[in-house]
Symmetry: C2
Subunit: 248 residues, 2 copies
């Protein structure tokens, strides 16, 4: 069995307009990595049902899991649940547990559990709820699709309820070595190290800072011993060109 893969579908005009910097994708990426689930693709689309449906159907057919973020609140621009139902050709209905959770929450706060708030209890038929310990309104899972909130603190809090639902794969180990050298001075030798270690993915990320330039070299792979050997080879290369490597 091959390792599980994942895609993220960010639903949000506010990301595309530049108003909001997406951080949910990074939160999800950091959640998936230690589970050994390979994040293979991220897409951001507008709050537009045909766009969401097309992207979701492409991604859920291709990857083990799809995580959506955004569009599950009470306002008119929250269209994710309907779009997911449309993508699956499912009916959408009020989930009794979600209705009960939300009714209790608004009663407790003395707030009106009005029709728009009740929209947050609508999920596609057959979906199971995902707990929201921050603001109660749940996410939901339908087959291999996990529908999560867009507010970063709420999305992060929903992840607790996901771990037990996901099949784990081989965890990638990574060592990052940094040194104040020009990428181009080590590129050929680095390519040779990559060739010598085909099971390790070696990435090279230059930086330019006021105090000077340098490079971060990342060795990633499933076998920690093999990652260590590749990292040691990178460090030896850096010393060879007169630089002092350090690990991040």
């Amino acid at each position: 069995m091959s390792d599980p893969t994942a895609a993220i579908l960010v639903i949000g005009n506010e990301i595309l307009s530049g108003r909001t910097q997406d951080t949910n994708s990074n939160t999800l990426a950091r959640f998936l990595a230690p589970l050994g689930i390979t994040l293979s693709e991220i897409r951001v689309v507008a709050d537009d049902q045909p766009e969401i449906v097309a992207a979701l159907n492409a991604l859920r057919a291709r990857y083990t899991y799809v995580f959506t973020t955004g569009g599950i609140g009470p306002t008119h621009d929250d269209i994710t649940a309907d779009a997911v139902a449309a993508a699956f050709g499912s009916k959408i209905e009020f989930h009794p547990d979600a209705m009960a959770l939300l009714a209790a929450r608004y009663a407790e706060r003395g707030e009106d559990f009005n029709a728009m708030r009740q929209r947050m209890a609508r999920v596609p038929q057959g979906a199971s709820l995902i707990k929201n310990p921050v603001s109660v309104a749940p996410g939901f899972q339908l087959a291999n699709v996990f529908v999560l909130a867009g507010v970063p603190s709420v999305l992060a809090a929903m992840l607790d309820d996901l771990s037990s639902r996901l099949t784990r794969g081989a965890v990638m180990h990574a060592i990052t070595v940094t040194a104040p050298v020009a990428e181009g001075d080590i590129a050929a030798a680095l390519a040779a190290i990559q060739s010598d270690h085909p099971a390790i993915a070696i990435g090279s990320y230059p930086y330019y800072r006021p105090e000077g330039y340098g490079v971060q070299l990342v060795a990633r792979g499933v076998d920690p011993a093999a990652v260590e050997i590749a990292a040691a080879a990178i460090e030896a290369l850096l010393r060879q060109v007169g630089a002092q490597p350090s690990r991040l």
Copy 2:
């Protein structure tokens, strides 16, 4: 003629692994908005030629412009130029102007203009160069595809050379009104305002902060007067429920 559209294709294992928070998409989104170019989609894919080719061909067929970021340095993991050439079925070749620029730069710094650094002068046949005032190695344009650097400061510096190449559209104007109210208390009235102003896109973005919760309401449209009228309607609604609106 309809307004120009755009997509961003981020090429980067480091984004998918969670190691790096992508900020280039937001930089590009904020660059495109005042030009009246609608950013319709963002995709992030791995450093993998077939993935890059498939995504690029899907996006360049659909949108007026595609902007790629990442993968144009001197190291073995910089495969964007080859992938773009493959997507277009074009040959890749050393661009004489890029060779001259890079040769001069490395001569000036007393650094070796070696074979790996020369890779940064390879562009698909027919491409025009995009200036890089930070680190010289150019980006390039081929048809409606703009290939930009992944280092954020370099990407930002390359944008200066793009403005004159892009057809402008109608600029979206936006007013953001914020108030310490619960989204659900205004959702129905907000939906009515949206219905009354179909040319304006009204977005509702709740927040939860230590000092309390609230909502940011954004009215966006091409006609500033119509945006102002919708924003005033939103402010009136907020006052009606006893909240004091302010503009961001």
